[in-house]
Symmetry: C2
Subunit: 299 residues, 2 copies
């Protein structure tokens, strides 16, 4: 099985108490694919500008990511600049430059249209819907978003939500989309908007999964040192969706394991800047930490 | 086995989005004993004033709590007034009246001095140490505190810490006592100050337990409706210590179950004002919810 992910491939400038990195490879699709690749073949659908360094393309290619639908358009690559302070729980966006992203309309190949697993990482909900509608017979569609779209394109986002099976959101997004401060209520409300399954990520506090058959609640893997949390949510989604794609079936057991794998992949992501850690990750590393994690919550 | 708990028996005035309750029975020892009583005999060591309503004494007595060391002194009962807003995660203290608490020096009976399990709920660390030193041969001593003592009586608190086996703290207390924002680091630091075991409560985000042999991390039991969280931490401690007292031995299995029981007892506490829910609780109710909880985190 393989998975196709629509998202951003970006150049990030990040400042945390542990240092500053300028124009490093980032973006939702990049982070997602670093963890998803451990489980399945990954096709990225994204756009970059002519300024995008060739070494990054080579890097992604060497990681086994299919880049047939990575468009290189006239203009600048999407850039994000942010900083983290104190406990590194909140990203403060300093600057966003959309560049080529503002006119992006993904066009994928006939082969890619037949891929069964789809993840719509955070981009304009119009673009997300456009991709979904071009898929031939998708079996599992996951979707992420962010407050920016909730606030500016709510109607479009709600239309896209109706077309997906799993909505992956962080706690703030779940709250602002539903108006429920209580996350269990928010998850229930979200599941009535289209997606049968809702996964709410709470950063260092773990995650809540809700569907009509069961609930799953995991803490995060405890980290003593967080270097840079940028992309942790996308890495989580990549581990989660990647595992489900590999498993090839959706049931209580595979979903719980998928969440556990997502949790562990995200824990590696925060240990380094950008893709530093996740790009070197092996499934063996992940399984090793998963066993430790399991032992933290067993009784 | 039985347990002796030193703490407050208070009159609370609480305002939450769900209503206002004036002068209801509260205090750390009251909340602790409501959950601990489900597992073991509970002796309360506390003080109230002459104004303390007899109905509350009768109520505690009817719940099977031993009140031989509940002193009734000249003066006013300790009163706390607070309110909760929004997501009810933070208590805003509006007023505190120490009353008889300010001159309290507990004197317990010879029989009580022989009790093996001790919990020092949140009172002046001088008083906590005084009680510990009067115990004949304690086998398990747990301790709680609060920011007020960390800020005003730090040295005394550190002296008391050296005399206990388990330190139970909330995340804010753990951070301000150690200076570590990272909770795993904070737990490690705390375990070097005396207590071999550290249990950090994170409210709606669950708990982290740390000792040199293992780590346990549980989410909280998810609640759709939180009416009044006052005393949830003490109820958690009561379930935790109560279960350990009943188990009669401290090992990985009993500790994990004790934390799970504490988690569940706390979830009932927040469903009503004051002791409304926990006073009607049976071990059967708790076990039923524990089974559901277990299913949330299993994989």
């Amino acid at each position: 099985m393989s998975i196709i992910v629509l998202g951003t491939v970006a150049l990030d400038t990040v400042k945390t108490p542990f240092g500053l990195r300028k124009d490093i490879l980032g973006g939702s699709a990049s982070h997602f694919s670093m963890s998803a690749r451990l489980f399945t073949k990954v096709d990225v659908v994204a756009v970059v500008g002519k300024d995008f360094p060739k070494k990054h393309i080579k890097f992604l290619h060497n990681k086994g990511i299919n880049l047939d639908s990575l468009e290189i358009n006239e203009g600048d690559t999407f850039r994000w600049e942010g900083k983290y302070e104190g406990d590194l729980n909140t990203a403060h966006t300093l600057h966003t430059h959309l560049g080529v992203l503002s006119t992006f309309r993904p066009a994928i190949s006939e082969t890619q249209k037949k891929i069964k697993n789809v993840f719509l990482a955070n981009v304009d909900p119009d673009i997300q819907r456009h991709l979904v509608e071009s898929m031939r017979s998708p079996e599992l569609i996951g979707m992420d978003s962010m407050n920016f779209w909730i606030n500016t394109k709510r109607k479009s986002l709600l239309r896209t939500l109706k077309k997906v099976h799993i909505f992956v959101a962080n706690d703030q997004e779940a709250r602002s989309l539903t108006g429920d401060t209580n996350l269990i209520k928010a998850a229930k409300s979200l599941s009535k908007l289209g997606p049968k399954m809702v996964l709410i990520k709470k950063g260092e506090h773990g995650s809540i999964f809700f569907c009509d058959k069961f609930i799953n609640i995991f803490p995060a893997y405890p980290m003593e040192k967080v270097i840079d949390p940028t992309g942790a949510g996308d890495t989580f989604a990549g581990g989660f969706m990647g595992y489900l794609s590999k498993a090839g079936k959706i049931n209580e057991t595979t979903i719980r394991y998928a969440i556990a794998y997502g949790t562990i992949c995200a824990s590696f992501n925060v240990e380094g800047f950008g893709l530093e850690k996740t790009s070197r990750l092996t499934l063996r590393d992940v399984k090793k930490r998963l066993a430790i994690f399991k032992n933290y919550i067993i009784f």
